[in-house]
Amino acid sequence: MISSDVIRGYNDTIILYLLLENESYGYEISKQIKELSHEKYTIKETTLYSAFNRLLKNGYIESFYKDETFGKRRTYYKITEAGLHYYKEKCQEWKLTKEVVNRFIREDFT
């Protein structure tokens, strides 16, 4: 299990990654995060919606309503051009971060 503190700076990146191919909604995203991380990371409901709000405010994603078969109305999210740009930046940043942190990790301790 990953602590939410460690991963905090990358929640936005994770969400944007999941929106790269398809638009999606809250539960689907949190389920995918759980699955893709092999259940090592579960994003909390409040973390997810804080991230949505932040991404919306920065114009990285857009939201719209979609009615489901059972009459449930859901908020869907879609990545924007700016979002894609930001995602690429974050990928670069992570590469660098990983490189730097790795220099301080002793292989025989892991």
Binding site: Y25, G26, Y27, E45, S50, N53
Partner: protein
């Protein structure tokens, strides 16, 4: 599943009622519902599923920080009204409105009966005075009893009625709004019916006049009875509407309105008993029974004008 709804409701109850937060709450509820159903499908027990869903909810403060929401401390500290309390408040209000309406109707019927006794051919003036005034006083006494009883019933809800020191969860607010909307048509019908009764009430006078001079008094009695019914309708249905407005803290119950209610109430408490006194004295001492009933419609009219004028003045002042 209800546990989850209640959990969310309680968390959001003290937050500002904005569209943004309501949307987030609705989405979160939908997500949690999906998660819950999936866990159940995987063979988790009810309790396990609820436990997992709630443990994966997180901390509401995180969201509030992100949304830049400062909690209004005052609002947050008011206790949340339970659904049962709301039901009971509505029921009590209904009962009180009925008692008040009945009381007012009884007073008016007392006046009508008094006039009637004077008109009955085989009654001497003394007998009419004695019986009529006694009946009126008894009816007024019963009415006062009803008012006091109604007031006592509502005493435990002072914090809703007068202070407004409570908060509603999203769920109960929604429920109340639906209920109020459903009631709206009943209320509109009752007002229409009451107003029609009031407008048509003088017809009884005209008919009586057309029949004979003697019959005019019966016309007055009929007029009073019709107005008594109309007032009963206004008080009863108005009281029910009032109780919804109070729970939903609609604009009528702002600070200014509360102050206004107090002043109008204080004036009413002086004016109406005074009218009854004038009515009784002019009748008993000056034997003006045939005309002194007019004091009631006149008082009603003047009082109505006073509250309307006061309301307009106060509204202007605060603007």
């Amino acid at each position: 599943m209800n546990t989850i709804i209640d959990y969310l409701d309680n968390l959001f109850a003290t937050l500002p009622k904005t569209k943004q937060l309501e949307d987030i709450r609705a989405d979160m509820l939908a997500n949690m519902e999906d998660k819950y159903n999936e866990l159940k499908k995987l063979g988790k027990s009810e309790n396990e599923a609820i436990g997992i869903v709630i443990s994966e909810f997180g901390n509401i403060d995180e969201l509030l920080n992100e949304l830049d929401i400062q909690l209004d401390q005052k609002e947050a500290h008011f206790p949340l009204l339970l659904e049962e309390e709301i039901e009971d408040f509505l029921k009590t209000s209904k009962k009180t409105s009925m008692l008040t309406g009945l009381g007012v109707t009884l007073c008016m019927l007392g006046a009508a009966l008094l006039i009637l006794f004077f008109q009955l051919p085989n009654f001497s003036e003394l007998a009419a005075t004695t019986i009529g005034v006694t009946t009126l006083l008894v009816l007024v006494a019963i009415a006062v009893g009803l008012f006091i009883y109604g007031g006592m019933l509502k005493d435990k809800y002072k914090f809703i009625d007068e202070k407004g020191e409570f908060s509603l969860s999203f769920n109960t607010r929604k429920l109340l709004e639906d209920k109020k909307n459903a009631y709206q048509s009943t209320y509109a019908l009752s007002v229409i019916f009451g107003v029609i009764l009031c407008i048509l009430s003088p017809v009884s006078l005209f008919i009586a006049m057309a029949i004979s001079e003697e019959a005019v008094t019966y016309g007055v009695v009929a007029l009073l009875c019709i107005i008594a019914i109309a007032i009963n309708i206004f008080i009863y249905y108005g009281g029910i509407k009032d109780s919804y407005n109070r729970l939903l803290k609609l604009e009528e119950y702002s600070e200014r309105q509360k102050e206004e209610d107090k002043v109008v109430g204080a004036v009413a408490a002086i004016v109406w008993p005074l009218a009854v006194c004038i009515f009784l004295i002019s009748g008993l001492v000056y034997h003006q029974w045939h005309i002194n009933w007019i004091i009631f419609p006149i008082t009603g009219l003047l009082f109505g004008m006073f509250s309307a004028a006061y309301h307009i003045l106060k509204t202007k002042e605060t603007k």
